[in-house]
Symmetry: C2
DNA sequence: CTGTTAGCGCGTTCAG
DNA sequence: CTGAACGCGCTAACAG
C-alpha cells in the first residue's frame, strides 16, 4: 500500500553478554560476574566492563538466566479479582516486600472460579515461578497435587486450615463470623442477616454467625447472596430487600465494608436510622468503614499484613533459611463503631 | 540439630518433554507438536502422547519455550499503585482480554516515581515480555531509549501526547480539566479550587482548569496538593482546609471521585450544603460517585476501555497484523449530577 | 506425519 | 581473579 522506507525495523538481535564481552575483551563469564557478583572481579576490569554495559545498553536476558539457574525471581499471586479493594491491600504488601528484594509479581484472576485457578496454577508452574500465593484454602485436588509435585513454595492466604498445602497466612473466618454474632447478640440484636457472596470465606463467616446465634438460642440468620460485581450498589440493593422482605431484621452483617458502606449510604439517603432501625456491620476495616456516617462496626483484619507475611515467608524460603512458623494466624478483632 | 529423615525432599527434577517422549516411544518434538499444533500429529499417536502427558503430570517449561521461540506470552503493566481503584479497572480490562488469549500479566508499581519506572522497564525488557503497558506519557529519556532499542510493543495510557513511544490509549487530561472549568463557570461558580496529587495527569487537569478560568476572566483556582495515601481521608481533610482557609471558594474539582466522595461525606457529616455552600466535582466516574449523597458531577472516562484497547492493540501486534490506529483517543465527557 | 540438527543466552561446574 | 566446557528445556528450520 504505502511505501515508507521501512517500519521501525525490529532490531535484528538484542545485545548479548557475548557482545559486551567481546567489546571489552573478556569472556562472557566475566561480564556475568560483574553483574551478579562484582566483588569477585578486579576493580579495573569491572569498571571497564561496566562502562561497556552502559554504553551498549546491555540488558541481561532473565529468561535464559532463569533457565540456567532455575530461579526466576518471579512470584505469582492468584486472587479472585483485582478490581475491588479487598485484596488490593494484600497485593500491595506482597508487591512492596518482594520488589525490594528484586522479585516481580505475576498476577492471576480467577473470578472466584476454581477451574480458573487450576489452569493458572499449571501455567505458573510452567513458568517456573519461585513461589506462589493463593487466596483461600480451598483448591482442586489437581491443584494440590501439582503444587506438591512441583515442590514450589506456596502460601495460602485469607483463611485457616488444618491441611495447608505448604505455608499459610490468614485468619479464622468462621471464628470471626461467630465473634460478630456474639457481639451483636450481646448488644441486644436478635434478628440478624448476613449479606455476601457464596465464596468459601463468606460461607465460613455465615456459618460462624449461625453457630453463634444457635448457641444463644436466637433465630437463624437471613442469608442474602449478592452478585459480587458492584459492591456499593450490592449493599444498597441488599438493604432495600432486607427492609421490605425481612422487616424483622434488626442487624445486618456484610461480607465486606464496601457492601456495608453501600447499605449505610442508602440508609442515609432514605433517612433510615442506623443503628436505630437497623444495625450495620462490615468486614475487613477498609478505609471507607470509618468515613461513612455512621462509622461502621467491622471485623478488623490485617489484609496488608497477610501480604507482608506471605512475602517474608517466601523470601526466607528462597534464601534456604528455615522457617520458624509455616502457619501464621494473623487474627481478627471486633472494632466497635457507631453503626451498631 | 534435628534428625528428621529429610525435609519434603525437593523433587530432584521436573518431568520434561524427553521423559514423556521416551515413555511414549516417540521423539520429544512430537510431544511438542501434540501440545502446540495437535493437528499436525496423527490422532493415534496424539492420544497416546496425551495420555502420557496427563499420567506423568507433565507441565511444559515455558521459560525454555520462551527462550527458544522468543515469545513469552507475558505482558507487563506498570501502574503508579494498585491499592486504589483508579487503575484497577484498566488492569481488569487488560487482564481479562489478555487472559483469554493465553497471556499473563506481570505487574509493576512505581508509587509515582519515574526512577522506579525506569528500573521496572529495564527488568521487564530483560524478562523479554511480549508487550508493555505504561501509565501516562511522561517517561525518562532512558526509558524511551531502551524501549525503542528493544523494539517491543508499548502502549502508553491515561493521557495523550504528540510523541508517543509506540501506541497510545488515553484521553486528553488538559481538555478534560478545561471542560470542567467551562462547565462550572457556566453553572455560575466563580471561585474554584483543584484538589489532587502532583502527578503529570493531575497537573494537566489543573492546567486545563486554569486556562478555562483565565479565558472566562475568573479568578485563578486554588490548588491544594494532597498526599495520595488515603483517598477518602484526603478528601475530608481537603474540604476542611478549603472551608476555613479559602472560604471564598464555591466549587471544588477533585483529582478523582474517591477524594471527592471523601469531601462529600465530610460535608454531610458537618451539615454543609452541597452544592449550596460549595459545589463538588470528581473525576473518572467510579462507582462511588453515584452512591454518595449528593451524587457527584464528574468527568466520565473509560478506564476499563483503556485496558481493553491496550490489550487489543497488543494482541493484533503480536499476531503480526497491521494496526488501523496506533493512537486511540477514548475521550471524556462531563457527567452532571447533583453535587454541582 | 515424523525425526534430526541447531541453537536461544545464560549460569554452573571445574580448571588454571 | 579468570576462562572453557557443558547443559538448562525447548522450538525452528529442514529433512525423510
Amino acid at each position: 500500500m504505502s511505501h515508507k522506507p521501512e517500519p521501525p525495523a525490529m532490531p535484528t538481535r538484542a545485545v548479548t553478554k557475548e557482545d559486551v564481552a567481546r567489546a571489552a575483551g573478556v569472556s562472557h563469564i566475566t561480564v556475568s560476574r560483574v553483574i551478579n557478583s562484582p566483588e569477585k572481579v578486579s576493580p579495573a576490569t569491572r569498571e571497564r566492563v561496566e562502562a561497556f554495559i552502559a554504553s551498549m545498553g546491555y540488558i541481561p536476558n532473565l529468561l535464559a538466566g532463569g533457565l540456567a539457574s532455575r530461579r526466576t525471581r518471579i512470584v505469582a499471586a492468584i486472587v479472585p479479582t483485582i478490581s475491588h479493594s479487598i485484596f488490593a491491600e494484600t497485593l500491595r504488601g506482597l508487591s512492596e516486600q518482594l520488589c525490594m528484594q528484586g522479585y516481580q509479581l505475576l498476577l492471576g484472576q480467577t473470578n472466584y472460579s476454581e477451574e480458573a485457578e487450576t489452569g493458572l496454577v499449571e501455567v505458573f508452574i510452567g513458568r517456573r515461578v519461585d513461589g506462589l500465593v493463593l487466596t483461600g484454602v480451598q483448591h482442586s485436588p489437581m491443584t494440590r497435587q501439582r503444587l506438591k509435585a512441583a515442590g514450589i513454595p506456596v502460601v495460602e492466604t485469607w483463611d485457616l486450615t488444618d491441611t495447608p498445602i505448604d505455608m499459610l497466612a490468614g485468619f479464622d473466618n468462621h471464628a470471626a463470623g461467630r465473634a460478630m454474632g456474639d457481639y451483636l447478640y450481646q448488644k441486644g440484636y436478635r434478628r440478624m442477616a448476613f449479606v455476601g457472596g457464596d465464596d468459601p470465606r463468606g460461607m465460613a463467616r455465615v456459618a460462624g454467625l449461625r453457630e453463634s446465634l444457635r448457641h444463644h438460642g436466637a433465630a437463624e440468620p437471613v442469608h442474602l447472596v449478592m452478585p459480587m460485581g458492584a459492591f456499593l450498589q450490592a449493599g444498597r440493593e441488599a438493604i432495600g430487600r432486607l427492609l421490605t422482605q425481612h422487616p424483622e431484621v434488626d442487624a445486618a452483617f456484610f461480607s465486606n465494608d464496601v457492601i456495608a458502606a453501600g447499605a449505610a449510604l442508602e440508609c442515609a439517603r432514605r433517612g433510615i436510622a442506623v443503628p436505630g432501625r437497623i444495625a450495620l456491620a462490615g468486614f475487613a476495616n477498609l478505609e471507607i468503614a470509618t468515613e461513612v456516617l455512621p462509622a461502621l462496626t467491622t471485623v478488623q483484619i490485617s489484609a496488608h499484613q497477610i501480604g507482608l507475611t506471605a512475602a517474608e515467608m517466601l523470601l526466607t524460603r528462597f534464601d534456604g533459611d528455615p522457617l520458624d512458623q509455616a502457619v501464621h494466624d494473623l487474627g481478627y478483632s471486633i472494632l466497635e463503631r457507631d453503626s451498631t
